[in-house]
């Protein structure tokens, strides 16, 4: 399967076409095609994992590193030597022109197979979930077709052999996101959200496009050949033959793409609005897979960032800074939301900030591991919210108005949601703890102490707002209008599966127990810088978990015991600064206002008016003048050339022909004697001619 990895994106692509063509006519509206294809892709991905593990193990035993390498470095903190395991790369050239060689293919290594599993698992779960959630929807079949297309595109992105192919997958997932956010396009807010998502990510994509081209330039500078290949890019970045400025500029451009796609500050504004789409879409695309495409990009061509931002040197760099800011602002905004999905959206923004910051401080393994775990518990939380909306709050997501006390009515949803929240908050021993801890430890041990602190603050905030969210939803009295009941198995099943994964996924790289599967198998060993693998810092772990529990306790006290904030109740009414702060948060830092009213309207208004005036006066003026000139020229041509010369010639010709005809007509007098005369005269002439010749 490592060599035939192209099958994995091909399966959902085939199901996309099949659903589009036959879906309506099939029983079940084609959902089973999609489920089958994704399940098959999952199977193939698991096969790929197994093969990759074997490949790494074989390489390790070959190099005689023995048990030490196989079992990781344990508690002693020495860096293990990994045998160099080359990724499996296959590609075909689809266009060639001089030095430009464009290829399409697969690049399979540990990171790839991990992503394959994540994408296919979440996609499969969402597919199954949607059979119940989207049941009876008008465009059920197209929904599944779009899901298949999305899965295929994401898989294409993941296995991409070169940055250009990655860009193609990137754009395709952006398109699917647009399609799926606007699934219920009859409501204008939904289409607005879809357009906003598309355009905001597009802004980031400018950077990505420039960055991709620059990677090609980098490769050419390093090797003399032009290539977009990922392996080539990484090797070129590490080779030292590429200019520093070029590296930094490339890294900055790619970072812009990451900011757009992965919802970092300042291009995060589209993510909360994207919650207008169906909840399965939010779970799949805006929690687990598409938004992590940026993080995946960062991980894939990490050497570019490592060298370009001089990550090894500590201190501060753009990537870490962006990530850190995002953590905080996302978390703060999650506090003031009444819509449960918006809470989760801001939470996603914040967690993505963790991942980007992780990459920025050199915690490659931590960031990638966090991507892995976050996918499971965030998808769980979103699907839980969908379950609540489906069966609890009568299709509403407003916590204040329509939820409350649902733990009695929806136990499965409650417990799974709780597990997901705990994992998100980073409570030991759930998944989120391990991955977050990895990032924080690396930050602390690599000279990025400031960012470690920011990460801890983020953890506190996360725990707090999730507590608020859980309380408003599941505790207290039911404030809604529906008849809450537990959701059908097609919905609760996936919830349970994801909850189980949220519990155990962390143990894939539980540094405390010496299990470091991610370090062994996922971290690249070829064309990869020497990133720090952190020692497990017990102090740090205790501090972060302790603070998280404390914040949960405080929040629980304020809400649960003292019924809505206790001494803080009515604070905004009493205190102007508090009110100002609250308003600031509610208006999302006025960023949306800046973007829409400031930038867009500014462009739309004066610029558009100026362009219009230019068009009317100058351009139209020119066009009209040309038109008038042509008309005058036409008239002149008509009078002199056409009528004068051409017509005269033609008429003359016609007259002459007529005259000639008149002459010739006399031959056809119809009179026999004339004809006879002609015959005789002709004979005489012929005869005379013959006689004269003879003579």
């Amino acid at each position: 399967m490592l060599d035939a990895a192209w099958i994995i994106p091909a399966l959902p692509a085939a199901s996309f076409v099949a659903i589009l063509l036959f879906g309506r006519r099939l029983g079940g509206g084609g959902a089973f095609l999609g489920i089958g294809a994704v399940a098959a892709a999952l199977g193939a991905s698991l096969m790929a994992v197994v093969e990759w593990v074997h490949r790494v193990d074989d390489a390790a035993t070959e190099h005689g590193l023995g048990t030490l390498a196989v079992f990781g470095k344990g508690l002693l903190g020495a860096e293990a030597e990994h045998a160099a395991v080359k990724p499996v790369v296959h590609a075909v050239t689809w266009w060639e022109s001089g030095p430009w060689v464009l290829r399409v293919g697969t690049h399979v290594d540990g990171l790839t197979v991990m992503m394959l599993v994540v994408v296919t698992v979440i996609s499969l779960v969402v597919h199954v979930y949607s059979t119940a959630y989207m049941h009876g929807d008008e465009r059920y079949t197209y929904f599944y077709a779009a899901l298949s297309l999305f899965t295929a595109s994401m898989l294409l992105l993941v296995v991409a052999e070169n940055t250009l192919q990655l860009l193609v997958g990137w754009e395709l997932v952006g398109l699917c996101s647009f399609m799926l956010i606007g699934h219920w396009w009859e409501e204008k807010p939904n289409t607005n959200a879809a357009i906003k998502a598309f355009l905001t990510t597009r802004t980031g994509d400018i950077g990505l496009l420039v960055g991709v081209i620059l990677t090609g330039v980098m490769v050419e500078q390093a090797t003399g050949r032009f290539s977009f290949g990922i392996l080539a890019t990484n090797e070129a970045a590490l080779s030292g033959r590429v200019g520093e400025t070029l590296l930094t500029v490339t890294a900055a451009c790619l970072l812009l793409g990451i900011i757009g796609k992965s919802g970092q500050f300042p291009l995060h504004t589209w993510l909360p609005d994207a919650m207008a789409g169906p909840t399965p879409v939010s779970a799949l695309i805006h929690a687990a897979t598409m938004v992590v495409a940026g993080v995946y990009l960062g991980a894939r061509v990490y050497p570019v960032f490592w060298e370009g931002f001089a990550i090894a040197s500590g201190g501060i760099n753009p990537m870490a800074a962006v990530g850190a800011i995002t953590i905080v602002i996302g978390a703060l905004l999650a506090f003031v939301q009444n819509d449960i999905k918006k809470v989760l959206a801001y939470s996603t923004i914040s967690q993505l900030g963790y991942m980007v910051m992780g990459l920025g401080v050199g915690a490659w393994v931590g960031a990638v591991f966090h991507l892995f775990t976050h996918a499971f518990f965030k998808a769980l939380l979103f699907l839980g919210a969908g379950s609540i909306s489906h069966s609890g709050s009568h299709h509403s997501f407003d916590m204040r108005k329509d939820m409350g006390g649902l733990r009695h009515h929806m136990p499965v949803t409650f417990w799974t949601f709780l597990i997901g929240s705990a994992a998100l908050a980073g409570i030991f021993p759930l998944a989120g703890f391990w991955s977050k801890d990895d990032i924080l430890a690396t930050a602390g041990q690599s000279g990025y102490e400031l960012f470690m602190v920011v990460g801890i603050v983020g953890a506190i905030l996360t725990a707090s707002y999730m507590t608020r969210c859980v309380y408003l939803t599941f505790f207290g009295t039911y404030r809604g209008h529906g008849h809450p009941h537990e959701s059908p198995p097609a919905i609760t099943g996936p919830l349970v599966v994801l909850a189980a994964l949220s519990v155990v996924a962390g143990f894939a790289n539980a540094a405390a127990f010496g299990i470091e599967k991610f370090v062994e198998y996922v971290e690249p060993t070829v064309a990869f810088p020497k990133v720090l693998v952190p020692d497990f810092d017990v102090t740090l772990a205790v501090i972060s978990v302790g603070l998280a529990l404390a914040s949960i306790g405080v929040a629980a006290y304020l809400w649960f015991q003292r019924e809505e904030l206790g001494p803080f109740a009515g604070l905004t009414r009493r205190s102007a600064p508090a009110r100002a702060g609250y308003t600031f948060l509610v208006n999302k830092y006025y960023l949306d206002a800046l973007y829409e009213d400031g930038i867009v309207a500014g462009i739309r208004g004066p610029l558009a008016r100026a362009a219009y005036r230019l068009n009317q006066r100058v351009i139209d003026g020119i066009v009209n003048a040309v038109g008038r000139g042509t008309a005058v020229a036409g008239r002149l041509t008509y009078r002199y050339v056409d009528q004068g010369a051409v017509d005269a010639a033609l008429n003359g010709l016609a007259d002459e022909t007529g005259a000639l005809g008149g002459l010739l007509r006399r031959l056809q007098s119809g009179r026999l004697p004339r004809y006879a005369l002609a015959v005789v005269a002709g004979v005489v002439l012929l005869g005379a001619g013959l006689v004269l010749i003879r003579i």
Binding site: P673, L677, A681, V684, G687, V691, I695
Partner: protein
């Protein structure tokens, strides 16, 4: 020899004059009569040339039948008997020129080709026997004879069909 020559010349002059009469006279019936003279003259020439049978056939058929046909034709088409309408069309001059040229052409050709040839009658004992002519027709030229018979038949039927009043 001298007698034959004289006869020839006399006949020739009469024939040519009559021919000119045919084409120039203003009276249709006179033209027909002039034609009779010409035809008779031709018959006489045939006798001079020792072709008796042909001469008498000429007289019988041409003068005896063809001219009668012409006279019937004149009668049926009510051609003017008097000098009222001119019988010539408007291209007399070009016609004369053309015919004149034709005549000159033919005469020169003939003179050029056959100058000095003589018809020798010394070896003949009399006019060509009719039996010889008959033999030639019914032996050597029997096919043309049959064809001409069919032609006559066709002409006959054709003339009847054309001239029918229906």
């Amino acid at each position: 020899m001298v007698a034959q020559n004289v006869t020839f010349w006399v006949l020739a002059v009469v024939m040519v004059a009559a021919a000119i009469g045919v084409v120039r006279t203003g009276n249709v019936v006179h033209a027909a009569l002039y034609l009779v003279v010409v035809l008779a003259g031709v018959a006489a020439q045939f006798i001079l040339l020792a072709a008796e049978f042909v001469a008498w056939v000429q007289v019988l058929i041409y003068i005896g039948a063809v001219v009668i046909l012409f006279l019937f034709g004149i009668m049926l088409t009510r051609a003017p008997m008097r000098h009222e309408t001119p019988l010539d069309n408007d291209q007399r001059l070009p016609a004369a020129l053309a015919a004149g040229a034709l005549g000159v052409l033919l005469v020169t050709a003939v003179l050029d080709a056959f100058r000095g040839r003589e018809i020798d009658f010394t070896s003949r004992t009399g006019p060509t026997p009719t039996a010889e002519v008959a033999q030639s027709i019914f032996r050597t030229f029997v096919v043309p004879f049959e064809v001409v018979s069919v032609l006559l038949l066709a002409a006959l039927i054709g003339a009847i069909v054309l001239a029918r009043r229906d």
